[in-house]
Symmetry: C2
Subunit: 468 residues, 2 copies
């Protein structure tokens, strides 16, 4: 019996559920709450102490050991190895590891904290009478509609469906429009979370190359009929991961193609509010695609806080109703408290954008400068917004380097993670969103890892016989 | 232009997004926020006033009219007519209509309100550093594991996956185990939200009859191989909608059958904490199915508040990991604030059960007594727990009666909504969870509707040529 408890505690530590430096419950109270004998708990704690998972501190109970770096790195290494798993990447949570993998900023500490909480009287009076709202909390839907209307895309509240982040919007659209075996056109490279959804749905991925000017609309004109695709998924502004932005003219053409071929277009604007260079953005594709089914996705995750899980889709009312049926089956609607918080936060969007802009400009420039100094053979363009550098390692396999980096305490997302077809072997996506000292430490470790990687010739890509 | 605005407002009123007695924004401020001229807004408001949607109140602006009962009833009637749509049923929200359709109680007003909110310091300190937690918030996973362990089903935190209500758990399990065309065994009748999920997934529904003793395990032994089912979905305690509870012995046999045929079993316990009669419940099926894949679902929706959208599944760790990959693709994890609130609420479960028990006992007995007096030809058993009477209208079609009831201002869920195959034409599910005066008014209206229905011979089921 004590070994079962011991295993549970060990697994919890390994999965980061019990963090280093956490105090465990006293033996007596744990025994009571698990209906075990105190002897059993004591035996489990002792076994874990002798294995180095737990430690006693005089007079203050039993604690999870501060983890040795080696063990933390092993876990990151495992996560990177199984690099098709978003689940593993999201579980990297470890102060020993520099997370250059997940692309989500911390909440803004410069905004009033009250924006992130609900006044208790609002919560109890306004929310507790209601329960299921599959389409979303009315005040939030109205706030989102007003946000689009202000941005020159007139929108009514009933054109909005609230979702669990933009990720759920992708998932619901997929469930609505794609069946197993259907083809979906995607940018190449693109956001890996979208690829996850399409692969789980059994869809065939049809890639369209992204260049400095985003995708080429005339290539799309060929690819749409050639692939018979049923859906087009795009990240038009600060493309994830390349940072490219699709020009106005291409947006107009894409909308026209969607209409012509009757293919719904998903434009995912999760990163679009993260402008770094001052410049007016091109209109939403939906602005040109009123007659077709353009579905515009947005999210509060990047500007405010991903832990809220508040995203949405905007579409013609008929499309919203269709997808809302799928949302109802999926979860009967999103949590109301966080939606009410989301409606508050939307009021502060302009302020948040200004703060993020300054923050990201500084971080982007720092990361770029450090990389140029420490790793001069790496190549990248400076993006005008978004969260990422898309880095080319000419002649080397980023997956192999990511493993070397993991051994040096850095988690990376290699290029093939963003590919429909295992291409982009020589690329890495690196976010600029950690604190300055973490960015510095991260680049320093990358440089050390790169030196070790170069020294070990077996890690070099055989150029004449490329790994794909 | 004003007609587009007018349509949006009208649709919002029709969908219950703008409730009767709500004040609309002043013309000037609406014009400003939508970037329309004041004249346009004025014209739209005026048109809506002349159509009876809005009204001016002297000195205090423009208001949504208190809706005439007829209009509210029309909407309910539409919802009942399209009776396969959970989305429509959940949008019934109208003080004119007695909602005998949706089966979710209000939050408990007798619990301390503080349990439903987060201390702001906890929220900012504990949560805002973190963002994605696909498996769930650690404190909640631990609290759920402790809850099962106390109920004689020893559980570690890593056996728990937090979901957006039990509904999302059903949806994720389905995405994990069922492909288009696969067969799923379901109770007949069963919870319509589960049928929604299976139908959306393109699964074939294989019904197993529920009697007073729940399903018959030996029938299951025949049906499992005969249907080649890939999944078994059960509501073993206070079955939805019949209220039947599966005895201990049958649970043991079901677990054994799952093992024997290698079929995962979902046991949905969303209603199980709603005991009315004092009696110990049989063990979870998972207690007997350690070697097979028994997936146990739970939820805070019925005991505490459905608006939280906090549910979960409990399964062997390998199964949890497999489903967690699907959860990650679906939404990257549930909202953290509501999970932290959920962890608080779980501490008060015993208290909440006691309060609910007293509340539901009184409402159940009241509804039963009123129905016996007003509608003596209706037949039902008194359930020992849960939220519903499962009522037999011998010789009559409940779908036709539901339409008559809607015209009298009562929303009902006819039996075929709970059927895999359009059976249960003569049944209705009626929840006992409204306030006493609403229950009284509802039964009074049902009696009037029944009288009108009886008087109109065209509504009678032709007994020799039954509608199926």
């Amino acid at each position: 019996m004590h070994s079962r408890l011991g295993n549970a505690v060990q697994t919890a530590i390994q999965h980061g559920l019990l963090l280093p430096g956490t105090r465990l419950p006293a033996e007596r109270s744990l025994a009571q709450s698990l209906a075990l004998s105190r002897t059993t708990v004591l035996a489990a704690y002792n076994a874990l102490k002798s294995d180095g998972w737990l430690e006693s501190r005089a007079g203050s109970g039993t604690w999870v050991c501060a983890k040795p770096a080696a063990q933390a790195r092993q876990r990151t290494y495992d996560a990177v190895l199984s690099n098709s798993s978003t689940l593993n990447l999201l579980q990297i949570d470890d102060s020993e590891v520099i997370d250059f993998a997940v692309g989500t900023p911390k909440p803004l500490s410069d905004l009033p904290r009250a924006l992130y909480t609900l006044d208790p009287s609002i919560q109890t009076e306004l929310l507790m009478e209601r329960h299921y709202m599959p389409l979303g909390f009315p005040a939030l839907r109205q706030a989102i509609a007003a946000y689009y209307t202000r941005r020159d895309l007139p929108t009514a509240a009933d054109q909005i469906l609230v979702t669990g982040g933009a990720q759920q919007a992708i998932s619901l659209v997929t469930a609505t429009y794609l069946q197993r075996g259907d083809s979906v056109l995607v940018e190449s490279p693109t956001y890996f979370g979208a690829l996850d959804v399409f692969r789980f749905a059994g869809a065939r991925l049809a890639p369209v190359a992204v260049g400095l000017d985003h995708i080429n609309a005339s290539e799309l004109r060929d690819r749409l009929p050639a692939t018979g695709s049923r859906l087009l998924y795009l990240t038009p502004t600060y493309q994830n991961p390349t940072g490219a932005t699709m020009p106005d003219r291409a947006r107009r053409e894409v909308a026209q193609l969607g209409e012509e071929f009757g293919v719904p277009i998903v434009e995912d604007h999760s990163l679009s509010e993260l402008a770094i260079e001052e410049a007016s953005q091109p209109p939403f594709i939906a602005r040109y695609g009123a007659a077709s089914n353009v579905i515009t996705l947005g999210s509060l995750s990047k500007l405010f806080w991903a832990g809220l899980r508040v995203g949405w889709l905007r579409a013609p009312v008929g499309v919203v109703t269709k997808i809302a049926r799928v949302k109802t089956a999926a979860d009967l609607g999103s949590a109301l408290v966080t939606q009410a918080i989301g409606a508050q936060l939307l009021q502060a969007m302009d302020e948040a954008k200004t703060i993020r802009r300054e923050q990201l400009a500084a971080k982007r420039d720092l990361l770029a400068q450090l990389l140029r100094e420490a790793l001069p053979s790496w190549r990248f363009e400076l993006p005008k917004g978004g969260l990422f550098l898309w880095v080319h390692l000419p002649g080397y396999d980023s997956r192999q380097f990511a493993q070397a980096a993991a051994r040096h305490g850095v988690a990376l997302t290699p290029g093939p993670l963003f590919a429909a077809d295992d291409s982009f072997v020589e690329y890495l996506r690196i976010p600029y969103l950690l604190d300055e000292d973490r960015i510095r430490l991260g680049v320093q470790r990358l440089a050390e890892a790169w030196e070790a990687f170069m020294a070990s010739s077996s890690f070099q890509t055989p150029r004449l016989n490329p790994i794909v």
